[in-house]
Amino acid sequence: MGKIPSSFRSLTSTQLVKKPAAPPAAPPRDFRNGIAGRESAKPSEDSREPLRNPFKSPDLSDAKSLFNSIAATSRIPLDLKFHNSVLQSYASIAAVDDTVKLFQHIRKSQPGFSPEPSTFHILLSHACRAPDSSLSSVHQVLNLMVNSGVAPNQATTDIAVRSLCESGRVSEAMDLMKELTKKHAPPDAYTYNYLLKQLCKSGPLLFVYDFIDEMLKDYEVKPDLISFTILIDNVCNSKNLREAENLVSALRRAGFKMDCFAYNTIMKGYCTMSKGSEAVGVYKKMKEEGVEPDRVTYNTLIFGLSKCGRVEEARKYMETMVESGYEPDAVAYTSLMNGMCRKGLTLGALSLLGEMEAKGCAPNDCTYNTLLYGMCKARLLDKGIEVYGLMKSNGVKLESGAYATLVKTLVRSGKVAEAYAVFDYAVESKSLTDASAYSTLETTLKWLKKAKEQGLAV
């Protein structure tokens, strides 16, 4: 089976996403900048609600006159927040140049308006998302900012980098970060790690290392524990575990101590490669160093051991998990079921379903698919149909592996009509695309014909 159950995948990867990208905790950023950043992060939502946006057309003169009429009729004094939201609304539909011009118009007509970093951040985020390949409009906004006596700070860097990366311009983001570091302030850890992660996703590892070296040498920006964890995760995903070990020693040399999250990451690397002993080794090392394993550690370990066929040990770790105060969840059970099915303990896996439900742990889509696959592989078609019935009544989607195996098993035992019904369910529940559901069915039927010709089947 060799694949990570999807529920498991989300457990590890979402945490990795969340950890470095937690801007609210950033200490040096002032509150207002944080708001501006978040508002500017979702201009698409603004444009989806045209009713709320007072600006109907991207035309500059219309926008100016609309602004003037609001300014003339408003009874309350217009504050910074108001001007910012005007710019924000206009930016969601207009070009960068026009937005900048509207900004200048506001500044001219409202002498009380003194723009703050948040104002420029709106313009900057807009400029970074603009689809032109050069960074000229970004530089234009930055110059405007500096000339107005507002120095770019760490929040500025963060917003620019995130906006650029979100529009797929990672290398531009890197250049801009270097430039801003040189001229103004170094990035904070959140921005740095965010960019590092994007670089890992988009380019070769050497490129990433170059970036780290350059930041370290030229600007004294050091990678932290999270940076190392991101790197380890990245090399583990590309199955380069030797490099992961190197990174662990580099991390120690840099004076950091592996935390639970870092251990989990490297353990996940071993587990996906079916290296059970190494995964257990990581667990023992954690214990030695006094790092308390968490739920993810146990889930990973159970998954890894099940994957390489060491079901008994996986079961033992499940007990250890309970002793440490973590109730096994659907991920742990599903991993174990997967292992048992692979070992040929299919009926044991099925009884595990009853066990988990008795303990109040609801099975998820992946659990059902694992069981269905296991039953069909073990040629326990009756049980398989039972599981399929459960899935159907719970509206669970079929995964392609389980679907293909079920269809094949049905066809093999002469239940072509049932196989067609399964095809209908797969299409109806939108489990698979019509094309892949059909080609599975077609291939299976072709196989049946061939087998019949050779006098093999049914």
Binding site: G2, G401, V416, A417, S436, Y438, S439, L445, K449
Partner: protein
């Protein structure tokens, strides 16, 4: 593992997928049955299969066999009884062969 390989083969092979979902100009027999002049092989299969279901053409004694009505006979080589298992290959006959 077969299913993953299979899935990969489909997504990695645009030619094969194209053969399945590209619109094709239909011969007159099919055109009369479907009431349209262009359809993909996939679409055609789904239409024929739902035609069988809505008209209850499956043999009540053996669901794997379809008792064709006059209309269906016309597009399935004039056969009176057709096994469900051969339905895809019969439909495929109306469509141009995959270039090798």
């Amino acid at each position: 593992m077969l299913p993953q390989r299979l899935k990969k083969a489909i997504t990695d092979n645009p030619k094969k997928l194209g053969n399945l979902i590209d619109l094709v100009n239909l011969p007159s027999t099919l055109r009369d049955f479907l009431g349209q002049s262009q359809i993909s092989r996939l679409g055609c299969f789904i239409r024929v299969w739902s035609y069988i279901k809505t008209n209850n053409l499956q043999d009540p004694k053996n669901k794997n066999v379809v008792n064709c009505d006059e209309k269906l006979k016309g597009i399935l080589l004039g056969k009176k009884r057709v096994e469900l298992a051969e339905l895809p290959s019969l439909i495929k006959l109306h469509f141009p062969k995959e270039p090798k």
